[in-house]
Amino acid sequence: MTDGPLFWVLGVSAVVGGVSVFRFDSMARATYALLFSLLCVGGEVMLLGLDYLGVVIVLMMTVEMAVMGVFMIMYMMNPAGLTPMPMLHNRRGATVISLVVLAGLTAGILLVPWPSRRGRPPADATEQLGLSLMGPQMLTMMTLGMALFATIVATVVLATRRGRYDRLGDGLGARHADDPVRGGVGR
């Protein structure tokens, strides 16, 4: 019975939080606004009967925004918003594009004859997800695993200060790596 009001409260909050992200001068506030918006998204997912995924989204976004806050303070010129400065470009074009996309999506949503519900939701949606990932969607799970592994490798490579060309020269021809600290196996 409370689902209807909850949907509206969470939905409006998610959109308002999303808009606030790009209106705040303070990067810290923008991060918290995004966190608020994504927590509301997690709430909407729970409303749709996916409790496990909703909780995963809430936990993941909380940690993700905490990490994002650190990067904001590291890189942003104005993390606290003490000296407001515009950091936008092409505002008019972006507004037009966004409104056109919104109008197209809205028209599609309202005009498409959506199929009626087929089947009944299972008693345990989490079990359904697990069986799906370990069964017919195993390939998806394996692809996700490889993508996560590739991301780990790529992020380390990108974030490392010294690459192999720094260590072994432009032609990679050095007999020994030029490391500031000696180490490795047997050296």
């Binding site: 923008a30 909407e44 949503i109 009944r120 799906s132």
Partner: protein, 101 residues
């Protein structure tokens, strides 16, 4: 509540994120726009699963896919920003334009 309402919410989130991704000069703020867009995709996938095909797990897998994409996008994005900052001491998309040459 019905499917259309959830999809309209998803469209609104997606377009707010699109606006942010197109306007923000800061790479980190641009990533915030992408996160919002993926948030819209998550709501849409969960709603379609609930209102059209609740008996199969495919909708849930799509949500897992979107959540994973959010994590990967953030991790790679921050690594790219770190590499960009080390190379040029910049974190703005406009200043990184010369990388395309």
């Amino acid at each position: 509540m019905n499917l259309e309402l959830f999809l309209l919410l998803a469209a609104a989130l997606f377009c707010v994120g699109l606006f942010g991704a197109l306007t923000q000069q800061s790479v980190v703020m641009l990533m915030m726009g992408l996160e919002l867009m993926l948030g819209g995709v998550i709501v849409a996938a969960a709603a379609v699963r609930h209102y059209i095909a609740p008996a199969t797990g495919d909708g849930q897998v799509l949500v897992v896919l979107a959540v994973t994409a959010m994590a990967l996008e953030m991790a790679i994005g921050f690594a790219v920003v770190t590499a960009l900052f080390r190379a040029r001491e910049i974190d703005m998309t406009d200043l990184a334009a010369e990388l395309k040459e």
